[in-house]
Subunit: 224 residues, 6 copies
């Protein structure tokens, strides 16, 4: 079933994508009903980056990064590469040369449930990566995988064209069809939080702000 | 056995707490006979913070952060929240809103054997956290836990009012009753180290400084 | 078999060592046929350091750092301490006092498949460490190990005098006898990459630059 | 998005399911192009069981097994329960009472990326389970999840009605629509292997049986 | 603080201990409010053993099993050895000679958050062990620990004389003072389960048996 | 550096090998100075096997089992295949067909720091395997590795012709040149243990048998 490349995919609109990026991972995850998170082992190679983009998906054999080159041709401004190996692997599929190529084509970053290398260069280039490992182990170009097929990356299903949001909290995927409504909910959530933040900053307790005391008492909470 | 909140606890005196904070984790751990460390999987969400405070302990169900709100009411200037889930969990119990509330009440930080989120905000707010994971996964408010009961956090027993010291080396707990004597020993240790540091910086060997050559030879160390 | 210290070892020449350091881990690993990497769990305690040096090897019992003192006497300008415990351990074998001593003797850093502490001090001193853990747990001085014997550290065989290269990508070892030829290959690789980088930055695809299209088609890659 | 129960699902036909069960995990995985495996951390609680059935999927909150009761009503002869928690959890969602209920309704087993308990009873009852952990930790019944919605279990996407094959090698899922064709391929593979097994048992080498020598030589394999 | 041996400890009465052993880990854990479990990484070296006994606690340095010999003198009929290393370790502290000695003194088993060896012999001797690892790595006898002091083993606090229950589900500790009341609750729970088991075996659903349908509907569960 | 096959290797004599196999892993490990153990993550796929043999070493790319076929031609009566992947991998390199071939050539078992499959068949065939994982994931035959070169397997250096001893305790390697002397020491150790076993079984304490009381007192052990 490997060896398939889907050239034309539908992507979530970039204005919605960018809106989701501003909201960030935690808010977007909440806004879509606490779904879409990739596993917590997916960590940024440097802190401070916050990106959103549309997924170019890559299914690659362990230790073989050939399909990244195939995927690169399909990258458009605003895309994020999302790679899942066909079996667990932490080899360094991606380094500064691939990042150079990706940036030249408008790619905003990489999400990879495997390893990455040249991380000092990637940081100085400003090319953010969320990965399972930092590992210099070289890869080969011998076996076919697929590009722009549905994959599962770090426990989350990702389809080509889905929105990827990534920041210091990790990575979240939003289905393309849900992107607009999730953005609405995310913004509503942010507006709602602003008021709460002020009251909490003023010393008000969540117990009162969220009116929890009665429920806690009803459940039998005992102060001693 | 859940559902208990102890309102009034005895806390270690803040001047002693602050003294221990200056000494730092490694020194305090040594000073109390190499005990009290939490497991090495408890890592700071950003580097450079060094805090000490008195423990408000929280025992919470997996994926349920309700008890943090209950605990918040009990926080005083100088406290640190210490949360252990009742079974292993890496969900994001704590984010920027709770940090806002905590800071408003004088809380110095959070130690949690679970996950935390909004870490970029927490860093910019200067609210330090030591956690098992960074994970945006949302939590619910449905089930009771307890506050200010004895807990085990990351392998270390923590009682309410104990001293928590945390820095880039990890987290150490000092029993309230031992705090003053541990501080004395920690300061003695520091004074003692200053002299050694100078001699080692001058090129003197530990072999000579600590008079080890004879013992090594007696045990049969062979130079070849 | 423990209790052996080899005083005189042959070291790779420092000019070659320094050349390899400039190339960095990923390039050196590739240049020697994708070998020599230590496991990806060996992480720097702070980012940005890039060092190379000659290995002083230490085999130490779990939780016992005595042999580091023995090794220190043998350190010369340009050396790197490489420690493997005789069974898995994450205790903090090394801190700021030992780093002070090491720096006084010209040591460039530490690679340790165990724990390290005082990491804030080590960072401010500029003494880089790659370790399996950051853990303040104290160690003792009771049992003999060996110095400058062949060890396996994080899965890689290391002999005394071998070249250690370490940066944000991890750690790589180069056998002393191969150092010069590996440096030649690493430099050739770098020169070769410079041209590629320019072409990729200009938007050329790896598919064309590396002439991959024919091979992919021959293997049956299907565009749909 | 939680709180949905799909009553009526299409299931793969049981004669095909049973045929896949006879083939076993490794053969079925190969027959469908090396896809469908759940992660290797999914281990049987006792060895020797080999089952196949149709998936009743359960998405459950961490530490809350309420949805298993909801799912039980939907179980038919030949079904297998497949549970994925909404965030990582190893609590004991399932024990001998639930197994009693499941067996009474024709359930063939449980696949759960979490914990299970009463494993001695489950073994003596002959109710097989593949799980991430064996852990007695009790769960609650407080929060809604969903039943018979698409889930990702141990890295593999599972839809209700899909075929689950499980044995000592682990767990494999076959999409309902592919079940018949995968069975054909699996049987062809088995027939093909029988002949090979005889020749290999007679001492013939794979090098000759698969005609590998030429290819190896062409790639440059050197005998020394 | 190491180097303490408490000779005389109070133990839970053996008839209560034995009653708890009959109930098993899962039931006892539930009966005491879902507390007392050791971490799920504590696994039996062979299946089928179910024991209960009174804890002789051992705090031992990493890789040093000397204190087991010290503890052995204090073992009485019905005791279980419980060892926690002072820092994480998987060395093989215990083998067939120590098991021979332990059995001669009436010891019922070992719970150790470290390694064990000679497991084939231990199985044939019928000496059960729950451990973190099976590992032949030898240990030394060089440094003091303590015996019969409070310890934390695999995340659970254990005091000398507490009841340890262990079976294929793992290990549970019951505080000595609570043993009698926990036994009562455990037996009540078992009696209560018997009736449920029969009804579930007859095909009745938990949904009806536990009267869950109304609550689920009230929370908004939707059947589609 | 891959692509090398060494046809002729020197093997440890089989009578010595068999003697070491009778002694078992723990005894052999002790006899050679507590060295040679592979990591504790190397577990038998079924319990009860105890083997010894001479190593045929295999260095293989991740997910590629081609070199096992190459190695098979070199297998002689008494050999054990030892495979280390060039980067971490848990794919199922080996199953019942390869085991059939191996048994036909006198191979005694497999030690592999990766995955294995068809484990039910391997058990019924009586072909023992020690592996890092049980995983059905199929592998390919596309890239060269090497056979009978020095490797590091699960942290232990293994050279072709070395003795491999494996049982329920794990795996130990003995250098070919040391095999005879290690066997002598292992047998001496066993003889010595027999006497101790009897005395311990009679209730004598290790404290007295090994004359430890004085040393413990001298170190300051306090009975309270």
């Amino acid at each position: 079933m490997a060896g398939i490349v889907v050239r034309n995919i539908e992507r979530a609109p970039l204005d919605i994508v960018d809106g989701l990026g501003v909201c960030g991972v935690a808010t977007v995850h909440e806004a879509q009903g606490r779904t879409g998170l990739l596993g917590s082992h997916m960590r940024p190679i440097y802190t401070g980056a916050r990106i959103a983009g549309t997924a170019i998906t890559i299914s690659a054999p362990p230790g073989d990064n050939w399909m990244i080159h195939v995927a690169m041709e399909l990258v458009r401004e605003g895309d994020i590469l999302v790679l899942a190996p066909t079996s667990p692997c932490e080899d360094g599929y991606f380094g500064d040369l691939l990042a150079t190529s990706a940036m030249a084509r408008g790619c905003r970053g990489l999400v990879i449930e495997a390893g990455v290398r040249d991380v000092r260069d990637l940081k100085s280039m400003g090319f953010p990566v969320w990965s399972k490992a930092i590992f210099a182990q070289g890869t080969i170009k011998a076996t076919l995988g697929s590009v722009n097929v549905p994959i599962v990356c770090a426990g989350a299903p990702v389809n080509p064209g889905d929105v990827i949001v990534a920041d210091d909290d990790g990575v979240c995927v939003v289905a393309r069809a849900d992107a607009a409504s999730v953005l609405d909910k995310a913004r509503a959530r942010e507006a709602n939080e602003e008021e709460k933040r002020k009251r909490l900053a003023g010393g008000e307790l969540g117990l009162d702000l969220y009116d929890m005391r009665g429920k806690l008492e009803a459940l039998g909470l005992k102060y001693v």
